[in-house]
Symmetry: none
């Protein structure tokens, strides 16, 4: 099996001005044709650093670099590659002519600095640049293959698709790195891990398992390496089934799908409608429910009842309830959900009330305390949560909990 190393070149990456999305793109594409990436190294626009990095990459059979082949003073990758190969840089007349023509076609004269992009290490195969000016380079040395690509994402991606992937696919032996994401919410990473339990069966299938916690829950990444595509898919399906048997209750999606999309799909299927009454989440729940195209089919209205007056006046929460239990209470959450359902005429009412923080907490009602209310005309109830984070984190977690409650209620109706 071939292995790859990515070499990202650019001062802007080392300063943090640019996030290295190129490496993620390349890693994904290489993985998809069965070539796992073992290391990603970022160095600056410096000849010595680049040469050293090329020497260090000797454990991989495929080395892909991005960046440093533009026209300005700080683009030194071609020079470094020439030094690494021990070959001189030579002017490629065909490339020079192509660059000159490209400027002419735009009614411009080629700037002097652009000629630099036609100077390439002797013996390198040139990779056509369909988007920009400088060609990429393909070099074979000591049984390894080096691909020198631009740093501009659109140019890099075009060369990856038109040259790199076709060139490597035949060597990868028809095997892939296949991935599947199983998304969960409402359970701690450690508790999920314990409930998944023994990983022997999954390991026996050759499936690698990764737990990836985030604000919206814990994703479980399943990966199969070095198998033909169909076999890899089958193994992932079996691994997913194993997980579902153990933690199915917490799984809301497979793949890069948001919980709001899952809930929207359930609302479309059941034909049910929903309205929201929010306090601490301040509109984020309505925003997420309306992020799905066609949401006007199921979402009628949302009330962000931030003040107590709004809770009483619009939602019909009783002043007595707020006085006796407080605005952040199970009872208020229930009356909010019932109220918004009543005034909007929807099937469901969902509410949030809590303390997003960082101020406003008390020993009895700490920052992060949130009640999610639900009403469907037959039953009303509220669930209590305590999140522990910053304001936006708490708001996001609370909407995730509210959406998950909706998901479970809708799922029950489809059983």
């Amino acid at each position: 099996m071939l292995r790859a190393q990515i070499l990202s070149i650019g001062d802007e990456l080392l300063s943090g001005a640019t996030v290295n999305t190129n490496a993620a793109y390349l890693a994904r594409r290489l993985g998809e044709i069965g070539i796992p990436v073992r290391r990603i190294l970022t160095v600056g626009d410096d000849v010595d650093e680049i040469v050293r990095a090329l020497h260090e990459a000797s454990e991989a059979e495929v080395i892909v670099s991005t960046g440093g082949i533009g026209p300005t003073h700080d683009d030194v990758t071609a020079e470094a590659v020439a030094a690494f190969l021990g070959s001189p840089l030579v002017m490629d007349e065909g490339t020079l002519e192509r660059i000159r023509r490209a400027f002419q076609e735009r009614g411009a004269t080629m700037p002097e600095s652009s000629a630099k992009q036609a100077r390439v290490p002797k013996g390198a195969i040139l990779i056509e640049n369909q988007v920009g000016m400088a060609p990429g380079l393909h070099i074979r040395k000591d049984g390894r293959q080096y691909f020198i690509l631009p740093g501009v994402p659109s140019e890099m991606q075009a060369m990856t698709e038109s040259y790199l992937i076709p060139a490597l696919r035949e060597h990868s032996g028809g095997v892939v790195v296949a991935r599947r994401i199983v998304r969960t919410t409402g359970i701690y990473e450690s508790a999920l891990f314990d409930q998944v339990g023994d990983l022997t069966e999954l390991k026996g299938l050759g499936v690698k398992v990764a737990f990836l916690p985030g604000v919206e829950g814990v994703d479980i990444g399943l990966t199969v390496e070095g198998k033909p595509e169909q076999e890899a898919d089958d193994l992932l399906a079996r691994a997913e089934a194993v997980l579902r048997a153990r933690i199915g209750e917490w799984v809301y999606a497979v793949g890069e799908v948001g919980l709001e999309e899952v809930v929207a799909e359930l609302l479309f299927r059941t034909g049910k409608t929903v309205s929201t009454a929010e306090s601490c989440t301040g509109g984020l729940l309505a925003h997420r429910l309306t992020n799905v195209s066609g949401s006007s089919k199921y979402f009628e209205r949302g009330i962000v009842a931030y003040s107590n007056q709004a809770k009483v006046q619009i939602l019909g929460v009783r002043e007595e309830t707020i006085r006796a239990h407080g605005a952040v209470s199970e009872q208020t959450a229930i009356e909010m959900a019932e109220g918004v359902r009543r005034i909007s005429g929807t099937d469901f009412g969902v509410s949030t009330t809590g303390i997003a923080g960082p101020t406003g907490g008390t020993p009895e009602k700490p920052v992060g305390l949130v009640y999610i209310g639900f009403a469907d005309g037959e039953r009303s109830y509220a669930r209590k949560f305590i999140f522990r984070g910053e304001r936006l984190f708490n708001k996001t977690r609370a909407t995730q909990a509210a959406l998950d409650l909706l998901r479970r209620e809708l799922g029950r109706r489809l059983e």
Copy 2:
């Protein structure tokens, strides 16, 4: 001068499933205290690979790792660090107790796997985790400092701010890489660039200028490298003054500040209150206005009037208006703003109505058409915008336009 190397740990980075935003964040923050990052290396969740990477990082005086300190089987960073140090992993009873208590406070029992996060290499200084469970580690060895941080961005960032930056600032030798972001909204990048005009004066100050367009507007990045902090600040202040003289009208903030924070500050200063009536933005405007702590002082309520019925019933928009002009119209926007102001008793009412897309557009009312309404009891008006993007992009642009309208209205009252 200290130099840093970043070690990013995680299979999900090597597979391309996750983009390495942590490295960019750390590089930026280290640069700001004058510690340039020389290399960023990404390796997988593998003990041998991590140990090797720690040995290879010997040219830097500061090594910061992220990732691999969670509770599951693939979190092996602590084990690797212990192997690198030649120290055993020991159970830290204080940390174990803290984790157990954290679960108790949420009404849960600590899952068995969480105990792993309290196992730390002997001799390491523990860095408190204010967001999650596992502590970070600070180790000194052979004249170098190692900081072992979590991979979850919120946890990593909290430790960077509370511990890493304070610990390193004193060693940074007095020179800095100083950056200042001048944030603009409501103007195209090319128009802004033309209006800024000749960059000679800024270059003469030794200030590098970068135009960074994004969903919320165009940021202008100003950078000064290798100067003492005070001198760098003076140069940036002069550069900012040059920009403000040319494009001041479009500048809403300097620094990493959101427009909602700027508006909140203006509302706090003027003592004014606001309520919102949203259609196409679906709650995002209320969400942004309530993202600021203390927002209950100025935000009274928000109505997400998605259906026409809700617009009529709650906001008092006249059925005749919707029939004659449509729900997406200047007139409806105005009546929505007036209506929410009237029922909530706030100083201002702000409204949005439009077509977020991707469906619902017509030749006369295309996807991206949005009206922003405003009412303050004396004047009511609406402004028309056409955005060109996907649903979430259009929602975000529309809230940005609404917040900028509020910013300008409030600014006028402070003149």
